[in-house]
């Protein structure tokens, strides 16, 4: 099971800004030197605040944005692609293997198409079926798997609630029988009572079809419940990655600790005891030197302001990019974020 479906090495995505009159045009380093390994069949969580580059990273893996530097290898056992140089027919073929589930089920579905047509569209565009009957059969199959009432296939999306629409989005992403799914904030727009239902559906489909998920979310509690491995991003950099349990039981990076303690506790008697993070995430057009988190980190020292930390291996797949993680581990207050 340790086979990697996706392996990236120093993957970077830069967006050019409007050039100045002189000198090289400035770039936004949306994703910078991110190396991750997503094992086959895993539910890989990617968390971070807005502006952390998590969505851009997901899109780079789908080749929806070009990869500026570094490499990303996709290998599912049948084919191996180098995503940074993929083009033409191979890129088209890759699209059948990697799919995206969007955040907003209200914006993601065309109001002019029936549910059947929405789900069938990828099959038709990619030419995966030979006849209308075959398409219909595949649509019905996947709709049933996503618990969509088959009688609803002839209706239009406006007739459905958020949870039902998200199930339609999921069916559309799955209909080409992909191996890799990027779910970008796929439950963020849903109400709590519906969210749990969609999460359970994603989980059961993933297990039934042997899929690999990159689950992008800002909600750590959701990630803790669904993912088996988590990566934390801050300002385009990977700051910590670990198996879910290790990360939540023993976060090492000060940012991960702060994120965990910022989650409002459901216990009314546990108020305001958490460590609060000052300030806001800096603009990616003008990132601070050294460690990107140093402007908000209360442990920052000289070296943090000068040098960007590299990912350190703690062993057991747990990596952290912080100059001081070792000495900070001994701090007793580190257990503050640990709810257990």
């Amino acid at each position: 099971m340790s086979e990697n479906l996706i392996s990236t090495t120093d993957l970077s995505v830069h967006f050019p800004l409007r050039g100045k009159l002189f000198g090289p045009p400035p770039v936004v380093r949306a994703v910078e030197n991110v190396s991750v390994h997503i094992t086959k069949g895993s539910f890989y969580g990617l968390v971070g605040e807005s502006g952390s580059g998590k969505t851009t990273f997901g899109r780079a893996l789908l080749r929806a944005v070009p990869i500026s530097h570094g490499s990303a290898i996709y290998a599912d056992g049948e084919v191996t692609y180098d995503l940074s140089s993929l083009k033409g027919d191979e890129l088209k073929e890759y699209r059948t293997r990697a799919q995206l589930i969007f955040q907003d089920p209200y914006a993601a579905l065309s109001p002019r198409m029936t549910v059947r047509d929405i789900i069938a569209e990828p099959l038709e565009v990619m030419g995966l079926t030979n006849s209308r009957d075959e398409t219909d059969e595949r649509v019905r199959e996947i709709a049933a798997q996503c618990r969509i009432n088959l009688e609803h296939l002839r209706r239009f999306p406006h007739a459905f609630s958020g949870g039902q629409r998200q199930r339609i989005s999921i069916a559309r992403a799955l209909v080409s029988q992909p191996h890799f799914i990027v779910a970008d904030e796929s439950v963020a727009a849903l109400d709590v009572s519906i969210q749990a239902d969609v999460l359970n559906l994603l989980k059961s489909i993933q297990q039934a079809m042997g899929l690999t998920f990159l689950f992008i979310s800002h909600d750590l509690s959701v990630v803790a419940h669904t993912c088996d491995h988590v990566a934390v991003m801050y300002l385009g950099r990977l700051v910590e990655t670990a198996p879910t349990r290790d990360l939540f039981a023993g976060p090492r990076h000060p940012y991960t600790k702060a994120l965990l303690s910022a989650i409002p506790s459901l216990d009314p008697d546990h108020r305001g005891k958490a460590e609060k993070l000052e300030g806001e995430i800096p603009s990616p057009t003008n990132p601070p030197p050294g460690c990107k988190f140093q402007t908000r980190c209360r442990f920052a020292i000289d070296i943090c302001r000068r040098e960007e930390p590299k990912l350190d291996h703690l062993g057991l797949e747990h990596d952290v990019a912080c100059h001081r993680w070792e000495e900070l581990t001994d701090e007793p207050e580190a257990s503050d974020a640990d709810p257990a």
């Binding site: 109400d191 519906i194 749990a196 239902d197 459901l266």
Partner: protein
Amino acid sequence: MTSPLISVQDLTLRFKTDEGLVTAVEDVSFDIAAGEVLGLVGESGSGKSVTAKSLMVLNPENSVYDPKSRITLNVDDKSVDVLSLVNPKDRMIVRGGAISMIFQEPMASFAPAITIGDQMVEQLLIHSEMNKARAKEISIEMLTRVGIPDPGQRFGQYAFEFSGGMRQRAMIAMALSTKPRLLIADEPTTALDVTIQAQVIDLMKDLVDEFHMAILFITHDLGVIAQTADRVAVMYLGKLIEKGSVRQVLRNPGHPYTQGLLHALPRLDELDTPLTPVKGDIPSPLDRPSGCVFNTRCPVSLGAECESRVPVYTTTDDGQQIACLLAEKQGAPA
């Protein structure tokens, strides 16, 4: 016991639409005392925002208040019958005078082409006797108070020059500068990142203590409620189905819907417990179930009885109120 700051009784509000009258809020009653934080929880379409806007008579033209609805505001030994206020001048007391509101999306709540400072000054001029120079002074003071660095310069900037967290702070500064007695906060932290949310929640808690004002805190996030509110009211499809102190409701929820919400919530301290969704979907307001509005999704529904009879409140010994037939029969939270 003195009269509460604001008292809402049997608030019932329908919207005239092409499909007929749609009930948005039905028989909702609650009080907020001075200095108290009441959390109003519910999912989309539960009527929590509509309820809050009723306090400021801000609902759109097509809204119809049922005649039995009463909203009474008690300030300075006077009682104001809010819903009977008709002309804009009289309504000023609930629109920025004694009641202020902060909204979910701070970008949409500031005029984009007027500086933040001018917008703050404008409302101070409307709601008080002060002159422009004094209003500017107070506005800058408030911006400082909510933790905006370099407030003098920020005063002259536009909303787009502020980050999301800063905008929400400016929004709070603006809402509080008129020294309202009640602040309505409609999902004030939902659009913010979790670390910024924690900052804004802290700020609001400090301000409650400092200004001794009451807050109606609207959110769908039970964690935020646990961190801020004294009492909680839970809404579902326009009905207030449970209310009580924040400890009672979160620790010992009495209504099956509140219980379902808490079970559906991913919790960091219970990673091994599988998430239990509330079955089914929230019905459309056009198609409200008869009897108890929750009966279509209720795991412990009594069947025909729940479908036909609207439950009345059962009050527990500690004052927790539950609108559920089962609780009615058992007399206490299940």
